[in-house]
Symmetry: C4
Subunit: 261 residues, 4 copies
């Protein structure tokens, strides 16, 4: 359930596109969208807090707390034909119902801002290491599938896309919002050496296609370095997640006050 | 929770029967009802979208997206005494509460259209291979059990019927809607060679009884061929499901943006 | 969530007691209460249907369907000082929230009928075979604990009582309804030979105490024979449950219609 | 869902601080707060009952029942600058949604009483035995992190805090309530000898910091002795929890009344 909405600004946007990416396999979607926000210096304008998010808080480097949340950024440019709304966050809803709810909440914004096209990002799990990841795609309409091919995107012809990243894309169709989903190949969680991977190569492949489709320019040079730093933290997050699951199992047991003290 | 209802048409139906079948064991119910829709050229008139469905979207052969949904079809014929409403879909609600909710939603339609009898379809798991599957049955009233016997249906005398296929049938009783459930014998998921089975034989046995009870004619010839094609896709779907469950476990962990980038 | 309430009758009751018992370990609570209903020829006056119950329906010997439900019976007698309301059912809510909701729904009835005392029944798991099971007890007030001792009930001095049987008893305290819980010793599910046990001895021990406390007479002779029959069915139900859990895991996967047919 | 709120008193409080602690790893938070309540002779003024709590009731030494609940205590003193509200309970909500709901409910009280600062307590799991546990801290604002250092609290610089103890602290930020979280090092559940630990040393370390920050005096002498008694009961509670989980799995299966009796 949406607990709180924080609106920082109500931007006026010209024929905006929307790009979405939440944490998922290989952090491909999340890392891609974060890089876009950073390079474009996009501005935060709204936050969502939901009780369907995992029940923990994060601690930042400076010792202050950060809540799990989903965020909307915007970017506008005098030269651009289409302004941009970027949806991301540091978590996904846990329950299926929560994922559907958040997706619908995001699409409410898409309707409000009259979004012309929604670009969802996601990972395409291959299960093995790839020298040069390819980008797959799917769309709400056959014409958009054809357009994808012009950008060397391989059309999917079966399968499924799961989680909020997939639902956002699919539910757009119900609202008659044109939408494509770009999925970058990634081995999954484990590299050959067994490490968790924040997949910089997959992110780069995805951003190359996405920036062409959005007709914007992004400097790819800082990406590899940042992705390296990301890996360490992704690894840490994995462990936090594991610990939380373990703690859940351990910490439910309630000792009655009047018995043990 | 029902998220959206799409009504394409409001058919006028004469003393309609309702036939229901959702994906379940061996896809017996789903394949039976789909075959009926195809052979009768039944027409889609309403769709249900629920946040209790699994949180993913499907990609079709042409690269476009398909949402998980439940559907109502109708069929009417000058010669028939009873028109037909057919309820099916490409998924079932995940949670028990969702399954109860969808069942009640369907029965609301049954009441609205003054359905005379509801025919639920389901699988009867035997755990072993069967040369010639039999059809079992149960009903809301003893008189209907007697009627089943006339069609060589074996009355069940114990056990349970689970999922939306069973709830639809049972909850009909609470609404005083006459209802029977036809269950075709199927080995379960594995054939002797270990393959997932879209059980064409079970579907044929079920449709032979059902068409007699509905007093309609269906050409059974195309069934076997189509069922063969179906098996490959069922196998694929099984894998998608497995992959989703795996991804769920993997992809919840949220990396905080301001830490890793 | 309560889906439907069926009221058959609105009995007028004199200073009634309420006895509650739902299926639990060893079926002690359920068998005790069912026996009471049968011997007293208590009359059904209300049924509850909830979407928090497990998602399946049962098939009876005569081939007709039975929904999972919870039931209220009443019994009144010219000679008795206190009439009786008996709460039972063929299932418990699955989710904790559902169990709390049903418990509160039952206590609403207790308040409406001005119930003087609530007698909850439950099992006391010992983990080993017992020649002569004892009856443990707990209460909402110290005075009631003292009263229990007069009936040779052993007061519990630690531990917990789980499920609807325990919540009913505990939540009564919040409503200031006097309540005791009677727990009959039972080994748990397995007898020394590994069979599931519908524990007739535990039922008898419980009913001997309960009938004294209610000041009514019950013929115990038919109990043992009926309990024997019960065991076979309990065993069958165990298997149904296991099968449902298995089917759940197997049958969620949705094959998209336009792909496989 | 909050089922019931019992208000015993509406205290008038001067610039109150709030201290929170629910059962979690090592019972550090719960034991700390309980000790505080006892030593200060704080007074109970409100209780919360929720259907998100585990579905069982506890039995006390005197044979009476105790419901799972969360509680608010207050303490005021002529000499003190800041009165105190203490939030605790004998359980945590099971579901993430329930944990978020309770946290928001508590923060509603914090706003109502114009709480100046919220002190959340929690455990910092080290995974190994510690001769002298240290106290870690995090805060809603950098200035509060600096303040923590003055009390020899080690600022966290990464990681997460899970459960209601963490959410309370984090969600305070959304309400612009100043908040710090104090986490005392504890090995986790197992001591070197494999026993469940109610960690008195961790409690003492936490209380030493907390009492300084609250500017109150607490006698630490009775702590060690009480903590010893606590361990036995914590062990017992662990077992109750395990038994409940097991019973859940065993006791769902519903035998239909008209079949087995």
């Amino acid at each position: 359930m949406i607990m709180q909405i924080k609106i920082y600004k109500e931007p006026e946007l010209r024929d905006p596109y929307m790009v979405t990416g939440l944490p998922g396999i290989g952090y491909v979607a999340k890392l891609s969208v974060d890089y876009l926000i950073k390079e474009l210096k996009a501005e935060l304008f709204e936050e969502l807090y939901s009780s369907s998010f995992p029940p923990y808080v994060l601690i930042k480097k400076d010792g202050t707390v950060e809540l799990l949340k989903n965020e909307f950024y915007y970017w506008k440019d005098i030269k651009s034909k289409n302004d941009l709304i970027i949806f991301t966050g540091n978590t996904q809803a846990i329950s299926p119902e929560g994922q559907y709810e958040i997706s619908n909440e995001v699409l409410n914004r898409a309707e409000k801002f009259k979004v012309r096209k929604l670009f969802a990002t996601a990972a395409y799990v291959t299960g093995r290491y790839l020298e040069k990841p390819r980008v797959y795609g799917a769309a709400t309409e056959p014409e958009l599938v054809e357009e994808l091919k012009k950008y060397d995107v391989l059309p999917m012809d079966a399968g499924s896309i799961s989680g909020t990243n997939g639902l956002l894309f699919g539910l757009a169709k119900l609202r008659r919002i044109q939408s494509v989903c770009l999925l970058s190949e990634t081995p999954g969680y484990m590299t050959p050496s067994g490490r968790v991977l924040a997949d910089a190569k997959a992110v780069q492949a995805l951003l190359e296609v996405l920036s062409k489709m959005l007709d914007i320019k992004i400097d790819m040079k800082p990406l590899e370095q940042e992705a390296k730093m990301a890996e360490d933290f992704v690894q840490k997050m994995e462990e936090l997640e594991r610990r939380w699951v373990e703690e859940m199992r351990k910490s439910v047991s309630p000792p009655p006050k009047d018995i043990y003290l």
